[in-house]
Symmetry: C2
Subunit: 348 residues, 2 copies
């Protein structure tokens, strides 16, 4: 999920989320050894669960919880918040190659505010209409502003894009551009480096970054287009470094990634290299797709992306040795690693 307004991602010498963090917590308490019945094709551990559905499709299900002051500023424009609440869930469907079908909405609200609700629902339904994803149920209650969405989609049986499919030799691709959302968040949090870059940027560059943070575009068309071409996929929500590790761990492989090949927003192109790399490699909130595909499919990958009007960039390769190796534009190994956002680790 998205990164909280009051924290920032830090670099770390640890390539894995530390013990005691969010992922360890999930594993320890909520991953149990079995499920009941044959209807669960894949349980926790991917962008979506996959459940038996129609004769030719699986049901992909994902859920995300957005908490005010944690995932978004309390004064965020409600229309944009409505959009983003659904977008981050649709992004999980995109990462599985699933077609959005329906969603449920749970809302805890401090009070009834007709204007706020009108704007929130307008933003929500505008994206729902665009993706033909129907609101089918929900729950409202009084409480600290919290938005819970569970989204459901359909994916052809046997063709879901799973995290576990990456093969040694595969090329790693990422869609669109990275880093803008992280930069915008840093500006809103008054981080000096980020504010300095804003002073150098054009109003259009700043507005685009703010749009990326507050109104991201899930890559659902791309996820569908690379079915049968890509071997694995995940959406970039917690930062590319951490999200790629999920693919590597699930696939039992490693990767070498050129940090300077990461597609970077133009406003960040003149930023200090360290800051630019940090935003692109670990910034989170990008909702781009990170994908792997065999070299023979490179042309097909680009053709699929072109058909969706989205650029994709090759950024590295999958190799057999476990772990994520970062290189620079000159092929030199970097000692710095980048850490994914973890809701339960301390942050600066």
């Amino acid at each position: 999920m998205t990164k909280p307004p009051m924290t920032t991602t830090t670099t770390s010498t640890s390539p894995q989320p530390a013990s005691g963090g969010e992922f360890d917590l999930i594993r320890r308490h909520f991953v149990r050894p079995h499920t009941w019945g044959a209807h669960v094709v894949d349980g926790p551990g991917d962008d979506c669960a996959l459940l038996a559905h129609t004769p030719n499709t699986l049901l992909a299900v994902s859920t995300d919880l957005l908490v005010a002051g944690r995932h978004f500023f309390t004064n965020t424009d409600p229309t944009r918040l409505g959009h983003k609440s659904l977008a981050v869930n649709l992004s999980d469907l995109a990462a599985m190659g699933a077609t959005p079908r329906s969603f449920t909405l749970s809302l805890a609200l401090p009070a009834l505010d007709d204007d706020w609700l009108a704007q929130f629902s307008n933003g929500l339904f505008a994206l729902a209409a665009k993706q033909r994803c129907s609101l089918v149920g929900g729950d409202t209650t009084r409480g600290p502003l919290t938005i819970g969405i569970t989204v459901m989609g359909e994916v052809p049986a046997q063709q879901a894009l799973k995290r576990s499919g990456a093969q040694v030799g595969d090329v790693v691709f990422v869609s669109g551009a990275l880093g803008e959302a992280a930069w915008a968040l840093d500006v809103l949090n008054d981080k000096p480096v980020a504010c300095g870059i804003r002073e150098q940027s054009t109003p259009q560059q700043w507005q685009q970054a703010l749009d990326r943070l507050e109104q991201p575009s899930p890559r659902n068309e791309l996820g569908l287009a690379v079915i049968g071409i890509a071997t694995s996929a995940i959406d970039v929500s917690d930062g590319l470094a951490g999200d790629l590790l999920h693919i590597l761990n699930a696939s039992g492989a490693g990767a070498s990634i050129n940090v300077d090949a990461l597609p970077c927003a133009s406003a960040l192109s003149t930023a200090p290299a360290d800051y630019r790399r940090q935003c692109c490699a670990a910034g989170g909130d990008d909702y781009e797709l990170l994908m792997t595909a065999p070299p023979d499919n490179i042309a097909l990958m680009h053709k699929a992306a072109l058909s969706c009007g989205v650029a994709i960039t090759p950024i590295g390769r999958i190799h057999a040795e476990a772990g994520l190796v970062w290189t620079d534009a000159f092929g030199r190994n970097l000692t710095t690693t980048f850490q994914a956002f973890d809701h339960f680790l301390p942050h600066l």
Copy 2:
């Protein structure tokens, strides 16, 4: 959903939730005129949405959000809270006659507390195992303690128990006993009448009431057993009066209910009549099933209930005129009405 610890349900002269309340809010902002695609068989407005699924079944989906200090006391035993979080969702499946299959869990936690999580997950999984309902995905984040569950089940096509199926002449049934959860909540909130009753009750009676509040038993077996026999069903979560109105409004009918026929926990049998009626008719949090069935099916209803080890009680009849008429044991019409819990109306 459940009733908040810090409020109590009040009587009212209005038989409908007032404008500006929770249901009106949902209608105004979140019920849009259309859905996309043929996969949504029934959208918002029942205990579950019904989606196209396998050739012979529909997918029933429901979601509930539980907020600390609102739906449960912050110091509630975590094992019981884990149980209840799933139970209130399973109860929605029961009300549709759907077999539980899987659920997602979203958790906002103020901090990582290993003990708390171990207990919470144990309570959750104990009920999940009993109902063979698999946890398939989730999301954890830091935030005010909030639990969001979306549950999915399967129901035979054309046989879901909907709110809209009640027919004029049908008998209204309710399962189990009512009022204990409301009484227990009032005791925990130090309401004098409730505390007086506790002083007269046995430790077993009090423990049973506390169990009902904190660890309710969803009536999933009963929901399945009355498929094809009952014409409509809803679970009693916000109070029988309000929940029955959902059936009446959806079915375009009215009902006459004998308030003194409501099955009442033994501890409340000697309570002041007004308080007993209030707890049973509007107390909420009971998670019993309210059902309608034609007179010809009375014997079948009792047989179905017997097969599940649950009592059911006939409490009134469906009639053509809109509205809910309360009578007493002597058949006299009451002027008092009972109001369902509404999260956004002021409460004492």
